[in-house]
Symmetry: C2
Subunit: 329 residues, 2 copies
DNA sequence: GGCCGATCTGCTCGGATGAGCACAGCGGGG
DNA sequence: CCCCGCTGTGCTCATCCGAGCAGATCGGCC
């Protein structure tokens, strides 16, 4: 395949894709047979000269989804594209929107859905449409902030999701982390709390996000941990938290003592769940997302393209000509 | 066409373009007939959800070319795409390369080619392939720098183009602009110079670029004009220079006195030429390019996509969703 | 010079696709 | 209540296009 053919490929591609000519017409224009034109187009496609992009907020990246499912043994994956022009803040919205779609399309329809809380989950709640399902019981699976600057975020998330399905919300009335083990044990043995945790443990579907182990964690913001605690966690290998529990790169609890003071469902319940949907986006959460998918904490992952590429160990934006220099084809 | 169909379009497009499924298969997956799928794909294309880009240094934008030919009554236009990732400096190279292609494909093959000089033309000279034509006589059509920091650029351009066609170069041994009118008249009446200008006037093809009327003009760099002269020219409506002569937005000479001291072919010779090829790129040259195409100074324009869009009065990067807000479809 | 394998070219054939048409559902107006 | 135009759907048919095959061409090697 010499240079001349390369130029012809490009000319043919222009006529075919930009000008909507038929291969036969292109053959006449360029003085070639239509089969030659077909072969040129095939080679142009194969060599990556032709890039087809689907420009839509709801578009997905099916190839990456399949790769994730394959690589990490998931039941399902949803990957939303992030074009150059998509702002960081908008990515969360789009991932949340995709998660809402995914929830809406779940079959069988969930009867009891256990959820965590946070910025991402609130976005999912907002993105869900009225009547996304019928009469789903929403139950919180971990303790949360009761009073902070965005007071009631956790509760609002659960209530919103429940309202939109015409079902009820069961809130877990407990702090996320308690100072003393005894307090935690006694709260957990309280009939109300125990009942709620039982309900959560019996859920058929789990939906949660994850937090990165950084100084901007919601746990620090809410005062459950301070910066020194976080540094210590990081020093011991923490990559982030899942429903309030800090894990390392292998998905193991980093600090058993801290974990014992954390109110909520144990992680093994997620691992044994038939359906556990993790909704995670943002580069700072790559390590925790990796820990989640490799340690079986979720059956489905909803995320963004950059995350998917990172998880699969690929360069973030595989442009054809940069790809050549990076991967030495 | 409601929102539901819009989402289906996107899903269908993903399966069709990213996953290489057949429309029939997509029909099965989405629970639609193959005809419905076909219609969805057509609407997705029509609504701009599907963007097909040809990623290649030699690619062109045929649609814009046709629009330019149509709008400005040109015989030919060549527009090279500028993707997001193409650096400003590379654009000139690509335009030059396209100009070289265009020259090589000219029929009938030029016998005498009159050229100007400058950064762009030098790039064209370098981009030309050996044997791009056979025995073309190259002749300079305007005076140029003889000694400046890049000494001999003007001469090198002509010589290079000539060498690659196996023809000869005829240089115009004169400054671009003279201080006194008498000097200019006497130089022009010199037998050698007059002969060269006659030769240029008899060329069958003209090739030139243009300069913007800015402080970084080659005329200032070479000392023919100073910044005050330029300010005065701009004040009087100058948009740039064509073969050394400053014109306004209507293509008229801005300063007849200055023009009288400028050595080279008069612009009307370009207007009456059978083939005059202008090679222009860069946003700062939009005004001068516009003056050129509207006042009939060229029969063919070789330029970049941003320039073409500017000339046609379009937004620079017509993304589907921004286009909606800007042009109110 | 002549043989041979590799590559390229042009073709047949069947699947994929788009244009155009007939019909169903729907809503408004008489 | 019925008629009628409009939109959306499923189908027929002609066209387009890609897979696969036989002959042509070319370069390497003896």
């Amino acid at each position: 395949m010499n240079l001349d053919d390369e130029l012809l490929s490009v000319r043919a591609a222009e006529l075919y894709y930009d000008e909507d000519k038929t291969q036969d017409e292109i053959g006449v224009i360029l003085g070639l047979t239509r089969w030659k034109v077909g072969r040129l187009l095939a080679s142009a496609k194969q060599r990556g000269f032709i890039r087809i992009e689907i420009v839509h907020p709801r578009a997905r990246r099916l190839g990456l989804e399949r790769a994730l499912v394959e690589r990490f043994g998931l039941a399902d994956a949803v990957v939303v594209p992030v074009g150059d022009a998509v702002a960081e803040s908008e990515v969360v919205e789009r991932v949340a929107s995709a998660a809402a779609d995914h929830l809406t399309a779940l079959r069988p329809v969930p009867r009891t859905l256990a959820i965590s809380w946070g910025r991402t989950l609130l976005a999912v709640a907002n993105a869900l449409g009225d009547g996304w399902a019928a009469g789903v019981n929403i139950v919180q699976m971990n303790g949360g902030v009761s009073v902070n600057r965005r007071s009631g975020t956790a509760a609002a998330t659960a209530i919103e999701i429940a309202r939109k399905s015409g079902g009820g919300a069961t809130l877990l009335p407990s702090p996320a982390i308690l100072e003393r083990l005894e307090t935690k044990l006694s709260i957990e043995s309280d009939r109300t709390v125990a009942g709620i945790l039982d309900l959560a443990a019996g859920a058929d579907t789990y939906l949660y996000s994850a937090g990165a182990a950084t100084a901007s964690s919601a746990h620090i913001e809410s005062g459950y941990l301070d910066v020194d605690d976080m540094d210590e966690l990081i020093r011991r290998g923490a990559v982030g938290d899942v429903v309030g529990r800090y894990i390392d790169a292998d998905g193991m609890i980093v600090d058993p003592a801290l974990d014992a003071r954390t109110v909520g469902l144990p992680l093994d319940r997620l691992r044994s769940a038939r359906r556990a949907i993790a909704v995670i986006s943002g580069v700072d959460k790559v390590p925790v997302a990796h820990a989640i998918v490799t340690s079986g904490l979720c059956t489905a992952l909803v995320t963004d393209e950059a995350m998917a590429n990172a998880l699969l160990g690929l360069p973030e934006v595989p442009l054809p000509h940069t790809a050549r220099t990076r991967t030495a084809i």
